[in-house]
Amino acid sequence: MWQADRTMANPKASDILGHVLLVTGPEEFLNQRTVSSALAAVRAADPESEQSETMAASLTIAALGDLAAPSLFSSIRCVVVRELEDLPDESVDGLVEYAAAPSDEVGLVLVHSGGQKGTGVLNKLRKLPLVTEVKSATLKPSEFGRFVAGEVRSHGGRIDDEASALLVQAVGQDLRALAGAAHQLTSDFPDEPISESVVKRYFAGRAEVKSFAVADAALYGRTAAALEELRWALDSGTATVLVTSAFANGLRGLARFMAAPRGMREADLAREAGVPPWKIRVLREQSRGWDDRGVAEAITAVAQADADVKGASSDAAYALERMVLRVAGARSGR
């Protein structure tokens, strides 16, 4: 739903003044952006306009009265009220009353931080004709690439799909960081499309490595890659027990797959190995290069590491590295 943001990306002052803008949704970064663009629109229309911010918790009935009262200088005003969920109960009616007939010279922006609290006020406000709601939604993993592309475009640049995917992988799924990265790249490369190599030069490394990527690399026997992935995983805060359990699951599937009788149908094989059917192909590939003895050795190493990361050894990172080496070593030992 971040596209909704784009519809309000360039609001006119007339959309804000005499209206109430309701900003909701869990993505704090997108919410802030909506607020900023509203403020910018009003300021563009009248550079003399007065802008103020307040917390909903301090919005008493008296303060509400000030909102609507004509100002001595009759200047145009834009008021941002944050944390609408903390609005005192006694002020609810006053606010709804004001929102029903907002003053023409005041733009009121109400920001709700998401969650269940304060939904009563939101529902009352939503029913009013002069209230516009802009709601941000959490992005799906598949949408981050498009978000980056949109950011780059808004700065007048271009980026291809591979490069934006790489950027998401490198920076992580934090919208603020992604927007910042997109801004930086477009200002440093104003006239050329942003390519993978540019992204690599600026953002080497990975932000998020899933623990099973480490296990998969080790089971394929790619020792160096596994160690590298492990480092990234640990540096980005992956819990050590997730790594050992990913290894345990991988090896369990492998052992059960290898123990299954030959010539089984794939669906039965999946049930036997206790993995989803698509995993069978992976297991078949991985199982080349493994024998019973190696798997047994690897499982022993993982079991030891599991106790190690839970306190049997003083250095969890070292215990995991040793586990990766022992597992990968057990494979080549055929």
Partner: protein, 385 residues
């Protein structure tokens, strides 16, 4: 030194005559002290011994087993006997603080304020803060207060606590003693009693469960049959998964009913009102209940797994006994052919290593909370024939 004729309360103890004498004399006033630590292998009747001692202390006749004081003390309803047992994996500091307060009260019936902790081995968190909470009270309790702590071994209790207690060591009862107890107390048929006593290796509670319940016997038979089958990697993985399943089955049989009952009680407290159920306090109470139920479930599962490991150990013990030509009955006499078969296929050294592997796995789980399935898989691999 005069010998006090042991009262009826001591008769529930199996094979612990020397201990019963000491305790009976103490209850009569000879050598009484303020803190006692009962140790003995699981199932030897530590908490029963402590409870019998509590009854003897409260009973005007030193444990007649007939009077009101004896009955209520043994049933756990005596006002001056507080019994603490942990249903999860540990004792919590907040509960211990409450115990300290209670221990300072004057006994209602003017004899003793008995503070019994059934699993003092679960006091030891890393910093020892839980144990430290009790230190002062155990060291110098009020004149009428007596602490009775139970633990498998001395080493399971923090040094600071240990040194403040008088030690009572219980021994493992012999199979004959356990069998006789089963026949006398439960009216078990002698052959079944003999089997249960042997298979339990002196664990009285386990022997009773084996004697009473067909399903328990079947589960044990499955576990005991495992070692001979561990011939391939696949078999090892299956065996580990089976062991977990057996533990889950057995635990669910016990906990499901209790969980449902507790939930019904909670619902009754809050009423059937929909509004009450949507309330924050109800949701919080429900969360706490399910959390403690989960912890209890985990603890029980671990207990069952632990017992299965002991059953496995008994098989290897038998195999070594056969290999060494040791006289006497096997623990698993009824599967002697399997044992003999295993004895032919393996060497005594390798079986000692297998027993080591079992104890290693047990330690990994109890000390470091290692994942049971993974630990058992590694263990089964080490047991492979």
């Amino acid at each position: 030194m005069t010998t006090v004729a042991p009262g009826a309360v001591w008769r529930t103890l199996v094979g612990q005559h020397h201990v019963a004498d000491t305790l009976a004399r103490a209850a009569a006033g000879q050598g009484m002290t303020h803190a006692w630590l009962f140790t003995g292998p699981p199932g030897s009747g530590r908490s029963n011994a402590a409870l019998a001692f509590a009854a003897a202390l409260q009973c005007p006749q030193g444990g007649c087993g007939e009077c009101h004081a004896c009955h209520t003390a043994l049933a756990g309803t005596h006002p001056d006997v507080s019994v603490t047992r942990s249903e999860t994996s540990m004792l919590y500091i907040k509960d211990m603080r409450e115990l300290v307060v209670r221990s300072a009260l004057v006994p209602v019936e003017k004899r003793w304020q008995v503070m019994l902790i059934e699993d003092a081995d679960r006091l030891g968190d890393a910093g020892g803060r839980t144990a430290n909470t009790l230190l002062k009270s155990i060291e110098e309790p009020t004149p009428k207060t007596v602490w009775l702590l139970c633990a498998p071994t001395l080493e399971d209790v923090p040094q600071t606590i240990r040194s403040r207690c008088r030690h009572v060591a219980l021994s493992t009862p012999t199979a004959e003693q356990v069998a006789a107890f089963l026949v006398e107390k439960d009216g078990t048929a002698p052959p079944l009693a003999a089997f249960a006593a042997r298979a339990s290796q002196g664990h009285i509670g386990r022997a009773r469960a084996l004697a009473r319940d067909e399903a328990t016997r079947n589960r044990r038979r499955e576990v005991v049959a495992l070692p001979g089958r561990l011939t391939s990697l696949g078999a090892c993985m299956n065996a580990a998964a089976n062991l977990i399943d057996i533990a889950k089955d057995e635990t669910e049989a016990i906990t499901d009913a209790a969980n449902a009952r507790e939930l019904a009680e909670l619902d009754a407290t809050y009423g059937d009102d929909r509004k009450a159920k949507a309330s924050r306090t109800y949701r919080a109470a429900l969360r706490e209940l399910t959390h403690s139920q989960k912890q209890r479930q985990k603890r029980r599962e671990m207990d069952v797994i632990d017992r299965s490991l002991m059953d496995l150990t008994s098989v290897y013990r038998d195999v070594i006994a056969v290999q060494a030509g040791a006289p006497g009955a096997l623990v698993n006499e009824e599967s002697r052919t399997d044992v003999a078969d295993l004895a032919r296929r393996t060497s005594p050294e390798s079986n000692l290593r297998r027993i080591d592997a079992i104890f290693f796995a047990r330690n990994q789980m109890s000390e470091f909370n290692a994942t049971p399935l993974l630990t058992l898989e590694a263990m089964m691999i080490a047991l492979r024939v």
